[in-house]
């Protein structure tokens, strides 16, 4: 059976180390036993957003797709401008650790002048194995644009999680 006993003081020391950016320890001349527990950690950082850029809708409904590599496919009847990007997330942790990643498959966007649009979301992987420098995953999607979609700024939020098993 796994023991997970951790003394508060030890965790405190780990926090202190984190807070100080784990810089050079303040050396002190004293005898005694130093104990420190290095906790395994995971970090998640968002380095780019899923950008569909600017779209001018046409007379018929169509779609704009952004791959997990950030490449755009502009559907028939639409005019697409600007630079598209896929969302990118960096994950760092124990070398070799397998992290499950995922999130919402759909998101609804609301327009500033009324109207809604729907986007499906695609993830570059269901799990990633971290290397010495961590790992990353990307989120792309396909946006459904209605015929003569109301102009405006459309905003929406979607959930993404990195999960340890």
């Amino acid at each position: 059976m796994r023991k997970f006993g951790m003394k508060r003081a030890i965790v405190g020391a780990a926090i202190a180390a984190l807070a100080m950016n784990a810089s050079a320890a303040h050396a002190a001349t004293a005898t005694g036993t130093a104990t420190a527990k290095i906790l395994r950690q995971i970090t998640l950082t968002n380095t780019s957003d899923l950008q569909y850029a600017t779209i001018i809708s046409g007379a018929t409904a169509s779609t704009v797709a952004v791959t997990t590599a950030g490449a755009r496919t502009c559907g028939a009847g639409l005019t697409c401008t600007g630079t598209t990007t896929a969302a990118n997330f960096n994950v760092a942790g124990t070398d070799g650790a397998v992290v499950l990643v995922g999130g919402d498959a759909n998101v609804t966007l609301n327009g500033s002048l009324g109207g809604t649009m729907a986007s499906t979301l695609t993830y570059s992987a269901a799990n990633i194995t971290l290397g010495a420098t961590g790992g990353s995953f990307q989120v792309g999607g396909t946006l459904s644009v209605g015929a003569n979609q109301t102009a405006g700024d459309y905003t929406g939020t979607f959930n993404v999680t990195a999960n340890y098993q």
Binding site: R2, T45, N46, D49, T157, V160
Partner: protein, 276 residues
Amino acid sequence: MPRLFKGFGLFFALAFGGAALPVQAAGDLLVAPTRVVLDGSRGTEVVLNNIGAEPATYRISLEIKRMTAVGGLDEIAEENVSPAERTALDMIAFSPRRVTLPPNQPQVIRVGVRIPEGTPPGEYRAHMLFRAVPDAAAAVPSDSSKPAGGGVSIALTPIYGITIPVIVRVGDLGAEAVIGDAWVAETPDGPAFNFDLTRSGNRSVYGDIEVTRPGAPEPLLIARGIAVYPEVAARQVSLRVPPELAAKLKGPVHIRYSEDREIGGGTIDEADRVVK
């Protein structure tokens, strides 16, 4: 006045000296440890750190996830949880549940467990979710090159977080795992090394996978932190690998599934397989 500036100079040096990191979005986070196992009344602590460049408010919550046959974790809505999962949610206490942190400021989350009398032996599990609460003003489109006439601009804001399992073991539990077939397959995202893991007993198994070629000292593949949870008797493990490694993995290999290094790293199962 010069004194004041001097003071400010020192302040800025202190405030930004340690923050020479690339600019990151608000909500970036660190969580440690990555797994919590509690076997009695004693609790533990989990550290959350804001590693972003801006202050952020984080919410901490518990959710139920169930493992799938292909090794994913499905989120289960609160109204659909089973009685045992409900018990898990009820027995795990934690605090605080919401915290605002300046950049590079860690916060301890205390995790306690209270096992009600008469709780049947077994493994109870919930997943602790750490997630930044989005700013109210976050959803402003960054694209200002919008054409004057009738354009549509889009701003999608991710709300992202980390989950770690919190496992409570009640009673004397045991489990075993057996490695099944292994094969390399193409997926839409590239080749993957796959194998089956079957589990028996009344708790989860957890550990590291090491794939070696007989006679070669260096392992071909190491994958740490592979679990089989009690709600599944078997799962597939699918690990994406670079194409050159996929080619190398084909043929005779030795697969070892060992317990976490923190608890000794004993072998759970090992097997010789010929990877197709």
